[in-house]
Every structure is written in C-alpha cells, then in structure tokens.
Amino acid sequence: MTITCPECGAEFQLDSIEVGEIIQCPECGVELEVLETDPVKLALAPDEEEDWGE
C-alpha cells in the first residue's frame, strides 16, 4: 500500500501495517504511529520522555 508522510509529503510503499505500529518515513526519517488502516491515518509518534526510577 502507498503511505503518504504527513510531515514531508513523501510517498512510500509498505506491504502491510497495523494499528499502533510505528513506521519511519524513508525520506525525512520521522517516526509515525498508525492510527487507522482503512483508510490509513497517521500521526507523528510521540517524543520519548525521560524518567528515573527502578
């Protein structure tokens, strides 16, 4: 299927995706979370937070 990066607009192909999956745009390198698959809806994956403990 054809994916369009919401950040840079690049189009790229993936065999399959699933809800919750983190994918990476091969053009701009941004990480994207798959919110829906039919139709495909993507969002920027949240930035990693730093925490302490354990």
Partner: protein, 371 residues
C-alpha cells in the same frame, strides 16, 4: 483459533490482589511468604503455579509452544508501613515498585483469552532490588527464551518504557604515609578529590553538550571518607556510573582505571544499558490498546536499571516495561498507586496479551503452512 480458557474460580480485582500482596512484607531475600501466597492466588485464578529453583513465583496460563513472559518482581526495598486505602489510592511498600505491575500481570493474564498454541508465564522474581538479581539470573540460566517479554515496572498506565541505562559501581581507595598539612605533599583526601574531579571531567568530555539524561554518562558520589591512625592516612570514595547505550561497562571501567593514579579501584558491574526495538508487535499492541482507553500513549526511557538490563541482551526478543504507578514514588514512605490506574492498566494489558498472542499464533500458522 481462540479457546475458552477464561474460567476463573475466584474473581478478583487487581486492587484486591495488590492489597493482599503488599500486606505481606517481602524485602529482598525474604520473599518466601509472599511467593507462597501469590502462587495460591494464581492457582485460584485458574493458572498453574509454583516456586522455581530461585524461589521466583511462577504462574502459567496455557501450554502452547509460543511463550509471552510477564517478568515482574515480588521483592521490595525495606521499610514496611501500614497498608491503607485513602482517597482512591492504595498505600503500601511495593504498591508501585513493583507489586502493582505484578498484580496487574496476574489479573490480566487470568482475564485474557488465548489461542491454544500460546502460553503466558507470569514471574514474580526475587532479589530484583539488590545487586544479586538472583531471580533474573536463574531465568537466564534455566528458562527457555520467550517469544516476547513485558517487564513489570511502573511506567504509568498510559506509557511504556523502552530502555534503561546501565550501571557500574566502584570503590576507590588511596592510602599513604601521614604528611604535615603545611607541607607540599597532597593529603590522601586531596588525592581522592583530584581523582573524583578527573572522573567528572571525563564524564563531561563524553557528554559534550548533552543535558544529563538517558544518553549521557553520569557519575554519582555515594560516599567519601578519610581516616588516619597517625602514621598512615587513607581516603575512600564509593561512586557509581550510569551508562548510556553505546558505552559498555568494560569501556567505562577501562576509562576510569586510567584515571586512578596511585589509588586502587574495585568495580562491580551492575548491568549494561539496554534499549528495546520500537517496531515490534508488542509496542504496536500497547499503542493501540492505550489509545483504546482514550488517551495518547507515551514512550519513556529511564535512567535507572531493571531486570530488562539483564534479560534483554540475552533473550533479544520483543520487549518493553509496563505497569501502573508513578516511579517517582519508588522506595519512598509515601509509596502509593491509584486504584483507577490499576484497573486501567489491567484492561490495557488484557487487550495487549490477546492481540500479541493472536499475532504470534497466526504468524506461526502461516509459517507452518508455507513450509
């Protein structure tokens, strides 16, 4: 193919199970009574349960060849205080670190509907809070490599943890003959301070412009003592280095050793840093399940250590840490977890287990079909 293996003989909420668990003190090396009680509870929930060779509490649901391990720990730091529920929060030693996550593991596993070829193994490991990490080491030496692992630590019910820093402890000791304080020779204390300054300078050089955090190497001075008997003087520093991914304990030891001058150094490797793969069925399932609960999933890395540091490099399978609770309450006399958070986490984890089990089961079926 989903079977109907969800019958429970004793329905229980996560909060009820957690309350029972924190009411039994279980500081490291004194976990026996809590392990015995938890095994009884897991059996009453339809799981098979036993204590393994290390004394870890083991509860198993299903018997298939695909294994999802939920690796929590049942020991706590010392400091028992009365268990109580106040304003929707359950107070007690270990309620956050990490009996809350462990209770969540047990109830979610009991609730989850699993394919026939998948088993979920819940582990309440012993001695996670002390250097020995006996429970995790026993699993590394004796258990089969699981197909996926969830480490039971407090990430917060809406977050997952994908990495922990490494840790090396050291003891520096300098001993020399007494010298007059008005003389030119540096005192033992001064020599030790100079060594410590070289250590922190080395850390600064490694870190460059980075703010202290997951990607930096950071030194902590745990203690500094000097003494003299009138003939000789000595100084001892006990310190710790928190290591980022990419800096191995051996590399750190080599670098610090070169800074020691006339002093002697002893090192203890606690664990290397470990960073989980982000693109796995496990992460996908958590993202989707947390969103299903109505919030945006968060991803964390932590500057502490956990059993992930030990089993991660050995098993090298899809892995992350998850559990309800605020880790800033770890080890404090104010340790508590919100009961609502326990229930959120339990429902999220139940959905995760069902989805991941189905994903692995289908992948195996397809692999068998394709030869």
């Amino acid at each position: 193919m989903i079977d109907q293996n969800t019958e429970q003989t004793t329905p229980v909420t996560t909060a009820e199970l957690l309350r029972g668990l924190v009411e039994i003190p279980s500081p490291s090396r004194e976990e026996g009574p809590a392990v015995e009680w938890l095994c009884q509870q897991m059996e009453s929930l339809g799981m098979t349960a036993h204590a393994d060779g290390a004394g870890n509490a083991i509860g198993i649901k299903g018997s298939g060849p695909i294994e999802i391990m939920l690796l929590g720990h049942i020991d706590t730091v010392p400091g028992f205080f009365p268990v109580e529920v106040v304003d929707g929060a359950l107070y007690g030693r270990g309620s956050v670190d990490a009996k809350g996550p462990l209770a969540t593991f047990v109830v979610a596993t009991a609730q989850a509907s699993l394919p026939d070829d998948v088993q979920v193994r819940v582990v309440g490991a012993v001695e996670e809070e002390v250097m020995s990490s006996r429970g995790a080491h026993w699993l590394i030496d004796n258990a089969d490599r699981p197909d996926a692992v969830i480490i039971g630590e407090p990430s917060g019910w809406d977050a997952i943890v994908l990495g922990y820093k490494g840790s090396v402890s050291f003891i520096y000791k300098i001993e020399q003959g007494m010298a007059h304080s008005a003389g030119k020779e540096a005192s033992a204390g001064q020599v030790a301070v100079d060594f410590w300054n070289r250590v922190t300078d080395w850390c600064s050089q490694q870190n460059g412009e980075l703010e202290p955090g997951f990607k930096t190497v950071d030194a902590t001075l745990n203690s500094f003592n000097t003494e003299s008997d009138g003939l000789t003087a000595s100084a001892v520093i006990r310190g710790n280095l928190r290591l980022p991914p990419g800096l191995t304990p051996d590399e750190a030891i080599e670098a610090i050793s070169e800074l020691s001058g006339e002093g002697d150094l002893e090192f203890t490797v606690n664990a290397p840093a470990y960073r989980c793969e982000k693109r796995t069925p496990l992460v996908s399932a958590f993202n989707a399940s947390i969103r299903q609960a109505g919030v945006t999933p968060r991803t964390k890395v932590k500057t502490g250590t956990s059993d992930m540091n030990l089993v991660g490099p050995v098993w090298n399978c899809p892995m992350l840490a998850y559990g309800p609770g605020d880790s800033q309450l770890d080890h404090t006399p104010n340790e508590h977890v919100m009961i609502d958070d326990l229930e959120h986490a339990t429902q999220i984890l139940t959905r995760v287990l069902e989805r991941v089990a189905k994903t692995f089961s289908q992948a195996k079926s397809e692999a068998n079909t394709n030869g």
